[in-house]
Symmetry: D2
């Protein structure tokens, strides 16, 4: 369904960039989880705008309020409504701007699809829509950590053509990722990335990049063949994010060049159970988690809003020159880190509950 994700842990987001507020309803969160706003705020703060001169200057505290679903700091098992008010709205009037669909934005397609669109900002296609996801993901993450010790960490692995070397998947942590503004745990690469972002910013341009994400301690058996294979749901989740252009898992596109004899992850006895020597599968085989770390990449295009003048056409088809005046990020990947983590948490949470349904038989 369009604004709802998940079968048992269901998140429904709402809100445009310039309406009264944004947020989400989380339905299906297990009861009894300790939960206050303090569990949610850190990830929201990691994604909020105005963090540094590498991000959009729009100022939003993005303070979340839990409206329902908890009492005395515990979840009741009922829908949790999460509300974040929009503060720094600048709704523009119906001026020239609204007659020109911004290139590679959603102005044109929303107008054609709905016959109407939010007159200012990106409306529902704005990155502000992801706030509800991040809040909902933070709740999922807390439960997954408490019950199964699951850890989810994403980082910037490429900006433009600058690629970071591989990181230690077993240990990489959020503090390491947050050690620099670009959120690349390799300091040398991070410095070059930062310089590149500043360069494109100065040129009134933008640049794309890639995030890598690892999910550790995921139980064996998650993922519902055939259409809800774990990687299929992760792919949907990631490609549902604004500005994403690609997803691959494990060996990914590079793996298409390999031979089976090298690509196959042969089995070996590990402490508690069978594991694999290599992890080209990225922690998933046949659509089901195998206990190895889940590793995937998400590609983000360069931000579409640029200060540089572009020749384009208005809705009537007449040629116009457009130079964006709005506030925007020159590169979206640093702020995308908590968003990708949230989406991974939402998918894994839903799949965990579905697998629990299969294993239980302990009702009174």
């Amino acid at each position: 369904m369009s604004s709802t994700l998940g079968t048992l842990y269901r998140v429904t987001t709402f809100g445009e960039s310039h309406c009264k507020g944004v947020g989400a309803i989380v339905d299906g969160c297990p009861p009894g989880l300790e939960l206050t706003e303090a569990d949610i705020q850190p990830q929201l703060s990691r994604r909020r705008p105005g963090q540094s001169d590498l991000t959009t200057p729009r100022q939003e505290a993005d303070q979340v309020t839990i409206y329902s679903g908890t009492e005395f700091g515990r979840t009741l098992g009922t829908p949790i409504m999460l509300l974040i008010n929009n503060k720094d709205q600048r709704p523009q009037d119906y001026g020239e701007m609204s007659q020109v669909p911004r290139p590679s934005h959603a102005d044109f397609t929303y107008q054609m699809k709905y016959g109407i669109r939010a007159s200012s900002g990106g409306g529902r296609s704005s990155a502000r829509e992801t706030i509800g996801r991040v809040a909902a993901g933070a709740i999922a993450e807390k439960w997954l950590r408490q019950i199964y010790g699951i850890e989810i960490v994403a980082w910037v692995s490429a900006v433009g053509d600058i690629e970071a070397p591989e990181v230690a998947l077993e240990t990489i942590s959020r503090p390491e990722v947050d050690a620099n503004l670009i959120r690349c745990p390799n300091t040398a690469a991070a410095e070059r990335m930062e310089a590149l972002v500043k360069e494109v910013l100065a040129a009134k341009d933008s640049i794309g990049g890639i995030l890598t994400c690892v999910c550790r301690n995921v139980p064996v058996g998650l993922g519902e063949p055939v259409f809800d294979k774990l990687e299929a749901r992760l792919a949907q989740a990631m490609l549902s994010l604004p500005a994403t252009k690609g997803f691959d898992i494990g060996s990914g596109f590079a793996g298409t060049r390999m031979r089976g004899s090298r690509h196959n992850d042969t089995f070996v006895k590990k402490t508690a159970r069978l594991g694999t020597r290599t992890n080209h599968s990225g922690g998933i085989q046949g659509g089901i988690s195998n206990g190895e770390p889940i590793v995937f990449r998400v590609g983000f295009k360069p931000v579409a809003t640029i200060g540089m003048e572009q020749e384009t056409a208005d809705f009537n088809g007449d040629k116009v020159l457009l130079a964006a005046k709005g506030r925007h990020d020159p590169c979206v990947v640093p702020r995308a880190v908590p968003i990708v983590e949230a989406m991974a948490a939402l998918v894994i949470m839903d799949m965990t509950l579905q697998q629990q349904a299969r294993q239980g038989s302990s009702l009174v």
Copy 2:
């Protein structure tokens, strides 16, 4: 839901590699469509095994029977049950084989998830499961072609490290694709690919590859923000296929290296409506089709079943040497062509019906 795909055009597949039959129920097909088995068989024949010495020698005619949902050659708007009997089954007994989970197969994860698994072949993780999808996709394709003139064509754009040059997206056709066994429309590349596949086959090995797919004449406005963005649903659909490791759309991962000023698809007046000069967006902006060709890539890993001996472990963790005896393809991509087309058709069909729901107001 695990074996069901879609909201309004819903496909539920069934069947293991060695049970009595495989197939699907299509629920939600519009009434009044002319439909017989002859509309479905061609795509099934394009995917069936035993087509050439580049594919598995398993012999299956894969003849489809329509069990319900049509009368006098027209759809009734009711569920269409499509049944394809398994013929060339070779169910093995509980021998040594079943004690050794095949590397990079689903034996281990199915066993762990379900506590049981099909003792022979790949069970539900087998490529035979895709037969139901191809049959259901053929129906969707017919309707999309008749009502909207939509054309969907996929081809092999890479095998191992051999990449085909770009093809003409506006004209590429299935006959061109089928002109050679490898299904790459560039003859020179196709020859090199074929040679490579034969080489890995001789070496009892396997190799991966990439498919590219274009969807033409897709109406503007398809895709349901935010979680059912068109590219999100395509990504899920493709990553739900066996052996897939990656999906990207338009500029894809390569686009992450570009600057916004070059990547942005500026608007220009085309015959009937606004179009874009370039198509880095791959026909989708903000999750909604924009009328340009939809272009995406799907990466397939090398086939896991290889004749070469591999050192691995059995379910007890004891070291074993395994050399596959089963029948298999050395490279999956030629037969994946109709499968990828089917998945694209299923997604576009469902999104088309959802958009029709929004536009109508003509009930009696």
Copy 3:
């Protein structure tokens, strides 16, 4: 899904009786509908508590705020978040009360299901949960009225053993229904009902009743066989309301006593199309609307909260005497009128959009 209703017009409600607020997200509302809070408030005011001495004295203005999904008074086609703050909360501390599950309330089952429950009021099982439904239903109703001229009117047809005579289904209107406090359009019956309610109130007791609802001008063809037959979805919607014990449609349970020769609704030419002489079918045949008025009944049990002392057991199984101190209605049916109307609107709306999906073929 538990807190979400509908396939294309999807309503997700949230909120407990004593949390910060209650409301709903409406996802899938068609774009371009004129909509402000003034379109929603009237039905909320019809259901709000404190309307008269026949209803609970809890005072709630139940003012709705539209948080998202509209701009300049028109729907954008995006999720509409509707928030109604709880004002007159009286959260009780963990006292004796919480150790005694109230008879025929949800205290016991919520505690057993979730291992936790809202400590005060009815939590999620409270009638306050229906506020989000009424708000969402008011939006659906406006669209259905504008596009198809659909009219939905419910009224009290029985209180205890006092039954109102049949009303004129073609003309019965909300003003007629609201002409008295009990919302029974037959004045004589209404007076007797009112007297009965006052009598049970004085006796610190409660009483049940029945609502009848008619939906006029419903297009032919709504309802999705087989599991989403129109009457099946109406039945689910009505039985999902607190305190409901039964649903029947057309001739209903009384029809089970009839012979086919009398029960059959034979066809006759009406102005625009075929109609039926009688309407024992209640406007639905084979799960699909036939253009005749849809008529159904919903039975409500006597309110479980009564001031009279009851002998019951606490959670430990020890005998206790319980006399409710909370505020409550002696008879729920007058306030249930707009709630039943809302549920009917939600179902018809969803079915209308689904049928529109089938009929359209007009995308660009």
Copy 4:
């Protein structure tokens, strides 16, 4: 979704009355359940036509074949396809019959909704569609009995105006129900019912009736507030059956006449947990099972197909006289017994899996 029921235990039925076959796919059945056709056949045989001179003379053995989802007599956790061939088809040609929509049948509404309809029999609205439900329900029942000891028994409690006295809910069994052809466990009432059915049959007429169903040993905690309350899902399931006009639970419509002081089910310590003295709630409070027997009634209208001549109109609106020639039951309730049991099993199964998802935390 129209032909799919359930969230975790999902049943998708297919088949018209005169196509090649009918059946269902069951997706989500727990793995490891012993299952062969012999587990399913008994309930199919209880519902099959031609059992006695009280039922339609159409002869169908209704032999089920399991096509997928099991191996060596155990479920694999994968989709189970159940196929029952239609044998005694009598597809009529496009004759006069098809120009006259049968009164109180679905001919008119199907034609209006889909613009086409099955030319013979009831197509998808035929009672043959329920075969897939009964087969799927038999599997659910087996699992529910094995894991939780759940017992589901339905019986005929009224035919026309002949009502059977109350039965012993704790002990009533299927053999008792099947002791006579009418399936009413009270012999005296059964004899009168049988005589009535024969009378209406002789008069070329038909008659309605009521089924009562009890579900014993249902775990506490099933049902998903708010829209998937257990009684709401039961109501939907029952009203999705052909010819049903009403559903009520516990005290039902009769309970609307009672006062709260008498209606309330006060608590009392029972062996293992709290129980209730009375069971006006019908085993469900707040939408959640409370451990008491679940008891509900389903009302069936008189069969619409009657041999008696009726004055009606053809599709053009011209007056015609119609006397049905087809085979039909004079009273549907005896054969509806296993169907109602199946629907109850499907709902309880799905709710059980959903509650198991909430309680588990034991994945590896």
